[in-house]
């Protein structure tokens, strides 16, 4: 019953994040969806990654969103796409149906937990390449943001001169 409630709340938060006309409310709904996702991960037996998701997904990303919305301005937002809204929801439902059709046989997979080393050992030893990739990604992301912001300053300076 508790699980059902959490799943329903997660989906509701995600739906509100998509539908809310104000960008700030949208970011806050996204943060609550993220927190509930972290709770589901905890229930599935992965507390380490749940904590990281809670602090990064619900904390850092929300701060970034609020920051970006502050700078970019709350430009609302009855920007309808070219795709008509019912058609978009129909396409999404179709995708969900296909996903369910593929995923349901896998749910009956037999299995108890296999013997396995701890999270840190799996991450650093078996998945060392992923860690390397994450480091590269973080450096790339930092460089990308620096490049974008620096370019903006140069642009402003050029405008002042001219």
């Amino acid at each position: 019953m508790f699980d059902l409630l959490i799943v329903a709340a997660t989906l509701l938060c995600a739906l509100q994040a998509i539908r809310s006309p104000r960008l700030l409310m949208s970011a806050l709904w996204l943060a609550s969806a993220s927190a509930l996702t972290a709770l589901l991960m905890y229930l599935l037996g992965a507390p380490e990654v749940a904590v990281i998701e809670l602090s990064v997904g619900a904390g850092l990303v929300t701060v970034l969103f609020v920051f970006a919305i502050n700078i970019a301005g709350e430009e609302v937002a009855d920007l309808r796409a070219l795709v008509p809204r019912p058609l978009a929801w129909l396409a999404a439902l179709g995708a969900m149906g296909l996903g369910a059709w593929m995923a349901i046989p896998g749910l009956r997979a037999p299995g108890g937990p296999l013997p396995e080393p701890a999270f840190a050992a799996v991450l650093w030893e078996q998945r060392g390449l992923d860690v390397l990739l994450q480091v590269v990604l973080i450096i790339g992301g930092v460089l990308g943001v620096l490049g974008l912001l620096a370019e903006g300053r140069a642009h402003v300076r050029k405008e002042k001169q001219s």
Binding site: E53, F65, A91, A100, L107, I138
Partner: protein, 103 residues
């Protein structure tokens, strides 16, 4: 009728993916597009953890989900910085206006 936790989480995964796709389709606002991507990625990382839970290898699934979290955060950071720059230069967040822009 009570559903098991994996079945419920599978519903959550599919729901998040579907809602994310719908969010990408129904908006033209650049920041809302990032919100849609975030919702989809949450479904993806939940699917990793669920697959680990079902196959009995929870920690491997968690390690993969961690990679997804890092990649997802970097993507949204760069996309938001991009949105801020677009707004500064062109004064709009409308994707349609950007794609037909001639300067």
């Amino acid at each position: 009728m009570t559903l098991s936790l994996p079945a419920l989480v599978a519903v959550a995964v599919l729901g998040l993916l579907g809602i994310g796709v719908a969010g990408l389709l129904i908006t033209r606002n650049l920041i809302k597009v990032v919100v849609g991507i975030q919702v989809m990625t949450k479904g993806g990382m939940l699917a990793m953890v669920l697959a680990g839970h079902l196959s009995g290898r929870v920690q491997t699934g968690a390690a993969l989900a961690l990679t997804v979290i890092v990649a997802d955060t970097i993507v949204s950071v760069v996309a938001l910085a991009f949105a801020v720059q677009v707004r500064r230069r062109f004064g709009t967040l409308d994707l349609q206006a950007l794609s037909t822009l001639r300067r």
